[in-house]
């Protein structure tokens, strides 16, 4: 059925309130009828799985350095590394990070991650209600990254968590100050690293080299800041939307509780359907075509990971969360050289958080009249997940 509000996005794509409110409809419409949408600002939006994957894998034709990766880049945001670089610089910055995030390596953190999740639950489990965003999903990945992964001193870890919250989740008027706090925090982290020495993740970032020389502060700060920007709100939102879905589908939640083998499958489906970083940009370095459409050298293209994750050609009944869906690879973490460095950590965090939440907060359900509200920039985020549950008696589930 024709719907002008949604069809408008073919030629006048915009990250406006209609996009936020009609997100599912807009992505479906573009997938079906418009594989390359155009914005009034002159950028293009690529939606289908095969096209998105091809662009992401061809880093020579589609550069991350030339124009950065963000549409409507926040003013004053310094360059993000290695996100906004191309090989060979990208390779020099990315390769030293990879070993810390391999599937085998991240497993060492499982117990610590479980402790973080459980201690967050401790704070509300006696109340009989919670907002699973602000009280659980939002603080969770930051605590894991800062305390467990980077092993920051407690005080600095707190500052970083506050900076992240104020910059990305708090009231708009506090965001400038939040970004400043975060910037100072990043500098303090690198200071800690150089005093501490060693070759842990923070040490390796501090000791990064470019062309055989110590990397400048701007690059090291950009790498640390990318891990924070890339790893926190993204994981939070998949977790928050996953918990909403579980609250709304109690039979499916009971299946997961009964068969823990299914939890990793649920995690894949939540990443696919509730993709947080819905798109990232590239700049064409030469004239080319994408999905039969002409693209000129210098054109900025948003690769819409979230749309590709719903491409019905690849994922039948794409909006259904289906634990039995065959694993064929989705694009929630991107693809190619720039694919999310932390995907294995994110998967582990999501699995553990979901397990802990289901075990510790049995029978959680949505508050009466709860309605989903989102905000969408480069990240699609749910504002609140208000849950009610029976408070366990003291000690139960602990």
């Amino acid at each position: 059925m024709s719907d002008p509000d949604v069809e408008r996005f073919h030629d006048h794509f915009d990250l406006d309130s209609t996009f936020n409110d009609r997100y599912d409809d807009v992505l479906s419409e573009l997938l079906e009828h418009c594989p390359v949408a155009r914005s009034d600002d002159g950028y293009a939006v690529v939606t289908r799985f095969a096209d998105v994957r091809r662009c992401a894998n061809d880093f020579e034709l589609f550069s991350s350095a030339a124009g950065g990766v963000l549409a409507g880049r926040p003013e004053g945001l310094p360059p993000q590394y290695p996100v906004e670089s191309d090989p060979p610089l990208h390779t020099q910055l990315r390769q030293p990070l990879n070993p810390f995030f391999s599937p085998v390596e991240v497993m060492k953190y499982e117990d610590g991650i479980r402790r973080v999740a459980s201690s967050l639950v401790d704070d509300f489990v006696g109340d009989g209600h919670c907002d699973a965003v602000s009280q659980f999903a939002a603080p969770f990945p930051g605590s894991v990254l800062f305390s467990e992964f980077l092993r920051l001193p407690d005080e600095l870890s707190t500052t970083m968590n506050e900076g992240v919250f104020e910059t990305f989740m708090g009231p708009v008027e506090g965001r400038g100050a939040g970004a400043q706090k975060l910037g100072q925090g990043v500098a303090a982290c690198l200071e800690v690293a150089s005093q501490r020495g060693g070759r842990d993740l923070l040490g390796v970032i501090d000791q990064l080299q470019v062309d055989g020389q110590p990397a400048p502060f701007e690059i090291k700060a950009g790498v640390l800041s990318s891990l924070i920007i890339g790893g926190l709100e993204t994981t939070s939102n998949v977790l928050a939307q996953g918990l909403w879905w579980l609250a709304a589908h109690p039979a499916e939640r009971d299946r997961l509780l009964a068969d823990p083998q299914l939890v990793p499958r649920a995690v894949e489906e939540f990443c696919r359907v509730f993709t947080s970083a819905w798109s990232l940009g590239r700049t064409a370095t030469q004239d080319t075509t994408v999905a039969g459409q002409e693209v000129k050298a210098g054109d900025f293209l948003l690769l819409a990971w979230a749309a590709a994750c719903r491409d019905p050609e690849v994922f039948p009944k794409p909006l259904e969360v289906d634990f039995q869906r065959e694993y064929t690879g989705h694009l929630a973490f991107g693809a190619g050289r720039h694919r999310c460095v932390g995907s294995n950590l994110a998967r582990l965090e999501l699995r553990v958080a979901i397990e802990v939440f289901m075990q510790r907060v049995p029978g959680f359900r949505l508050e009466d009249g709860a309605e989903q509200q989102f905000h969408t920039t480069m990240i699609r985020a749910i504002d609140r997940v208000p849950l009610v549950f029976d408070s366990p008696a003291d000690g139960v589930g602990r």
Binding site: R53, N98, F101, S102, P103, G329, F333, S343
Partner: protein, 66 residues
């Protein structure tokens, strides 16, 4: 069936050995051990080999049937 892993494309995301450990294994640095190699897959592991290839974010794994 044979599987071939392109060392240039592989960037160590580890999806292959996470999804199909019976076919792909990890080295100490988190890369697939057989990076840059071509090897024969046991008939009972063909499905797993395909799953690993499909899930490679770099499309670094080529499956040669037969």
């Amino acid at each position: 069936m044979k599987v071939s892993i392109d060392a240039e494309r592989c960037s160590g995301q580890g999806r292959c050995f996470s999804m199909a450990p019976e076919v792909y294994t990890a080295d100490d640095e988190g890369y697939v051990t057989a990076r840059g190699e071509t090897f024969e897959v046991l008939p009972e592991h063909e499905r797993a080999a395909r799953t690993g290839a499909l899930n490679c974010p770099e499309q670094a794994i080529t499956v040669v049937e037969g």
